[in-house]
């Protein structure tokens, strides 16, 4: 492409080609993040040195800026015909969703959330051919298509955790029992992920954007917003700190556990319990989130989690996020524990991480398996 630089021309058209016959965008399975979210980045590059993957790979596609721009190009339909899906997925897969880039970013661009979203939209489930085929079939008949909520008809909003899974459908079913007009609220993804990565401060920044949409959606007495993601829940509850107007939102927020059937407390000993203390478990969560989770879960379970965390059999708490300076050390401890003890179960607090860790384990730690916390409830206790 030839561009004339004779003129004073600080801006140039992007020299990429438009969509062709074999069109990558046709394979998108779900909605992508809103475009304004993908245009947050001004390419300053401050995120790259914060990204643990970039520090090792030293390539632009492995940097948060590259990932963010990838989404931007995708949404702008700037990839040429015949672009391979695998190529587009590679930068997304290299993201370990640690959220350090968001911490380093001045606009707090939620790149990790975007990548989770992209993986889902491109139908990545990490299960190989058969699982991929199965998910395609399921998708064919069970489209989680987003339809804008219709105001008063809505009796509840459901804000799922990122990634989407079987658990996603199950939760909706549970909510659907109580609320006939339950709707999925996809904007929540952005909100929830950003909060998870960044904590209160980030939530406040991103909330401003999302709140505008809520305002249009919510009447003075909003229907409950039900979420299965602890981070989403936290973000919603936090919204009161910013503006009194949003107290309604905070009041309407519910955690999925409110709708789950009560669980039998575990037997301290004996066959009632699937996991014994001497089994190797690892609890994966941020400190703050863990605290909230304990508050949320009813007493016996909270006790159980606490016990699990402190028990001599567990490998210890693996924390993550920008707040934790000793991230590296913890990761090393984690790897050592995995290698030494044939680690079996990892409990995580969001389904997106569940997917990520299972993918990771497949190649590195063949004995380990990650379980989502709500699914873990079923995993741990006999019905």
């Amino acid at each position: 492409m030839k561009i004339n630089f004779d003129k004073t021309q600080p801006f140039m058209p992007a020299p990429t080609q438009g969509p062709g016959r074999k069109f990558i965008y046709n394979v998108l399975r779900g909605p992508l993040p809103p475009e304004e979210s993908s245009r947050l980045c001004n390419r300053c590059g401050a995120c790259a040195q914060a990204c643990p993957v970039y520090k090792i790979q030293k390539r632009e596609p492995a940097s948060p800026r590259g990932r963010h721009q990838l989404l931007r190009f995708l949404l702008g339909r700037q990839f040429a015909a015949g672009t391979k899906k695998a190529d587009i997925l590679r930068p997304a897969q290299s993201c370990i969703m640690c959220g350090q880039c968001t911490a380093a970013c001045s606009v707090l661009a939620p790149t990790a959330a975007h990548m989770a979203w992209l993986k889902y939209a491109l139908g990545f489930c990490g299960g190989g051919f058969w699982r991929g085929l199965w998910s395609k079939i399921v998708y064919k008949f069970n489209k989680p298509a987003y339809t804008p909520p219709q105001g008063a008809q809505i009796t509840a909003f459901y804000m799922p955790a990122a990634g989407g899974s079987a658990h996603y459908a199950a939760s909706l079913r549970i909510i659907g029992k109580e609320h006939r007009g339950a709707e999925i609220m996809d904007e929540g993804l952005l909100l929830g992920r950003a909060t998870l990565m960044q904590g209160a401060a980030a939530a406040a920044k991103i909330l401003d954007k999302i709140k505008a949409r809520y305002e249009a959606l919510l009447c003075p007495q909003p229907p409950p917003i039900i979420t299965d993601d602890i981070a989403n829940y936290r973000a919603l509850k936090l919204s009161t700190e910013i503006d009194e107007k949003y107290q309604n939102i905070a009041a309407a927020a519910r955690f999925i556990t409110d709708y789950m059937p009560p669980v039998k407390p575990p037997a301290r000993t004996g066959a009632g319990r699937r996991i014994a203390v001497q089994d190797n478990n690892l609890l994966f969560c941020g400190d703050e989130i863990a605290r909230r989770a304990r508050e949320l879960f009813i007493c016996p379970r909270a006790d159980f989690l606490l016990e699990l965390n402190q028990s001599p059999g567990s490998a210890g708490l693996l924390a993550y996020g920008a707040q934790h300076a000793d991230l590296q050390q913890l990761k090393r401890a984690f790897a050592a524990a995995c290698a030494a003890r044939r680690l079996e179960t990892l409990i995580v607090f969001s389904s997106a991480e569940e997917k990520f860790f299972n993918m990771l384990f497949k190649s590195y730690y063949p004995y380990a398996k990650a379980v989502h916390i709500t699914a873990a409830a079923e995993y741990f206790y006999e019905k």
């Binding site: 004779d6 600080p10 140039m12 030293k58 596609p61 590259g66 990839f79 190529d87 001045s106």
Partner: protein, 663 residues
């Protein structure tokens, strides 16, 4: 993209043999994600090559040269000028993996680093040793030293310690033909180190740098003052410089930027000024009093001070994040970096703000106020075509304004492609032609980072030579017509004209001091002025040259490289070429990273390249420390110096004995 029809397609097989198949990326996503850097421009490469080490980089460049594939070196890609955008396609050389700090020598005060080392990483490595590396661009946490060197990045500390070019002692570079060169600033002869490393990758690829490191100052004191208007701030800056105080940093910010950084500030504040002193305790106490007085005179609203590290960090936090936090305002950022003479700073800023108002663009202003460098950071949305067009017009006008005010369109970001067209505002055809010839001499195939820096068109009339040079130009022209070689001398302290038949061209007649600017702290003198005379004139006004007053003329001291770091203090230079063409570069602005570094190239050139007629030098409020005077000796010209000789003087007319002509 890597198909056999493209130029890279044919070279691919060979390159895969050198760096391995896994390091050659030709997929659409890798290409798209290497098509941009920190600037708005974009262009797709044909391939991205991850270079594992310097040795293989040489082989890769040789292969690319053989097959005629253009290439662009790239490390972090955080520049503001589109310098890492592969305009002609070809290969992007990803040098980020060359990130080793190979050696730190605290005794002699240097560190050896590879180009991919992040600035902050070097600082962190030096911290426990009690040293620091002076250039600290605001992006130091994520920009690399290779990139800093290529663009002559500045930073807050540039005011006192000079920008990156002043802090590079030696370099190992690879020429476009794939030849490894070891260059050193201290070598006799013209300073090729600065010319090559500062060329934004258009003349060479940097593979190793030896940078100057300095002991950390013990006594740091930081002030942060808020003002009710930007004019007051700039007047304050001017007064501080005029009082002869040389702070380690003198940084300012306007209200738009203060809002964007989200740091709290007192009500009614329109601008802030950060002043950092690192002089010894006795001087600092005196300077502190003076600064307080100046700030009070200029109606500072609030003044905060910090002595310890934690408080200092707090004061600096907002400034460091200034550029990137403007992203909060709009999705696109265009960061300009005009540099002005410090005396003209207040009115230039007023004009720039007028331009913003005229085109209704949103911009935050950040200033390296102490060295007259202004960053109008324009935020806009490129999808809004009207807004983008307005920004385009405003940018053009700012560049024209800068050129008219005698400033530099780029103080520290470099030219790349964003400011390329504006180079024509700043340089006339003669100067640009010289730079083009240098590029063509080093890189005849135009493969190394092609189409950067130099504009295609030139505009405006050539700069007229001043009246006092008419005779000399006439003589040069006559000699040239007669094919007579000329021997260029200053006051004759270094060597005497021996040839009878050769026309001696002495600068002894050019002995006027043209301008002494007490506010800007610069002096402009004709080349034949004796250093002692200039020093005496300046001493009356309480100003001092940066070098001791040695024997001989100022032009002679510069051309013969009498003092190793004299070039660091030269802000402007006028010279005549062997065909009588007058070229004037730079001016009274302290910072400059526009175009090739010709002033540094002439440092130590022994008059073999050009006849220097006038120099503008930074001055200081305290006498220079006794610098070691270099022993005068002729240099043995290397092949590259000879290449440049051909560019300047193809007939070998000026000082022909230097490049081996008949003596």
């Amino acid at each position: 993209m890597g198909n056999i029809f493209s130029k890279f397609g044919r070279a691919r097989r060979h390159i895969e043999k050198i760096i391995g198949r896994a390091n050659v990326h030709c997929d659409a996503v890798s290409l798209a994600l290497n098509s941009f850097d920190g600037a708005p421009a974009r262009a797709l490469p044909h391939a991205v090559l991850d270079i594992p080490d310097a040795a293989r980089l040489q082989q890769v460049i040789k292969t690319l040269y053989e097959f005629g594939v253009p290439y662009v070196p790239r490390t972090a890609g955080t520049n503001h000028d589109g310098g890492a955008v592969p305009l002609k396609g070809g290969a992007v050389l990803n040098l980020s993996a060359l990130d080793k700090i190979t050696l730190i020598n605290t005794e002699q005060g240097w560190a050896e680093v590879e180009p991919g080392v992040v600035n902050q990483r070097l600082q962190d490595a030096l911290l426990p040793l009690g040293f620091f590396y002076a250039p600290d661009p605001a992006s130091m946490v994520f920009s690399t030293i290779g990139g800093n060197a290529a663009l002559n990045a500045g930073g807050a500390k540039t005011l006192k310690y000079g920008s990156t070019a002043a802090n590079i002692l030696a370099a190992e570079v690879i020429t476009p033909q794939g030849e490894i060169l070891n260059l050193s600033k201290a070598d006799n002869g013209p300073d090729l180190t600065a010319l090559l490393t500062r060329s934004e990758g258009t003349l060479c690829v940097i593979t190793r740098l030896r940078v100057k490191i300095l002991p950390r100052p013990k006594n740091l004191k930081t002030f942060k003052a808020y003002f009710a208007s930007l004019e007051n701030t700039m007047n304050g800056v001017r007064d501080i410089i005029a009082a002869g105080i040389l702070p380690a940093a003198l940084e300012a910010m306007d209200k738009t930027t203060m809002d964007a950084t989200q740091t709290p500030y007192p009500a009614g504040a329109e601008a802030l000024l950060i002043i950092e002193l690192d002089s010894d305790e006795k001087t600092a106490a005196k300077q502190e009093l003076e600064i307080m007085q100046i700030l009070a005179n200029n109606k500072a609203v609030t003044i905060e001070t910090a002595d310890d590290e934690a408080a200092r960090r707090k004061l600096w936090a907002g400034r460091r994040a200034a550029a990137s936090s403007l992203a909060r305002l709009a999705p696109n950022l265009l960061s300009l970096d005009s540099a002005f003479a410090r005396s003209s700073l207040p009115e230039s800023i007023k004009k720039i703000r007028g331009i913003f108002a005229k085109y209704n663009v949103r911009a935050g202003m950040v200033f390296h106020a102490g060295d007259g460098n202004v960053h109008p950071n324009i935020v806009f949305d490129e999808t809004n075509l009207f807004e983008a067009a307005q920004v385009k017009k405003a940018v053009k006008e700012i560049h024209m304004l800068t050129a008219q005010a005698g400033g530099s369109i780029s103080g520290e970001h470099g030219i790349g492609i964003e400011k390329r067209a504006a180079m024509a505002f700043m340089f006339d055809e003669a100067a640009l032609g010289l730079m083009r010839k240098i590029k063509a001499a080093f890189d005849p195939e135009n493969l190394a980072n092609p189409d950067k820096i130099l504009p295609i068109a030139t505009r405006g009339a050539p700069r007229a030579a001043p009246q006092y040079l008419c005779d000399i130009i006439e003589r040069i022209k006559q000699n040239r017509a007669a094919g007579r070689a000329m021997i260029i001398t200053g006051l004759g302290t270094k060597f005497k004209t021996r040839g009878r038949d050769k026309a001696a061209l002495s600068s002894a007649g050019l002995n006027q001091v043209l301008d002494i600017d007490k506010v800007n702290y610069t002096v402009t003198a004709q080349a034949g002025c004796a250093l002692k005379d200039i020093a005496a004139l300046l001493a009356e006004r309480g100003m001092y040259l940066p070098v001791p007053a040695a024997r001989g003329s100022i032009g002679g001291a510069f051309a013969a490289k009498t003092f190793a770091d004299f070039a660091d203090y030269i802000t402007g230079i006028d010279f005549l070429l062997p065909d009588g063409v007058f070229i004037s570069l730079g001016g009274k602005h302290v910072k400059n990273s526009a175009g090739y570094d010709l002033p540094r190239l002439l440092h130590g050139s022994m008059g073999a390249y050009a006849f220097i007629t006038a120099l503008t030098v930074r001055t200081f409020a305290a006498p220079a420390p006794k610098a070691a005077q270099r022993k005068f000796e002729f240099f043995r010209p290397c092949a590259q110096a000879a290449l440049i000789k051909k560019v300047f003087d193809s007939d070998n007319l000026f000082n022909p004995f230097v490049f081996g002509g008949a003596q």
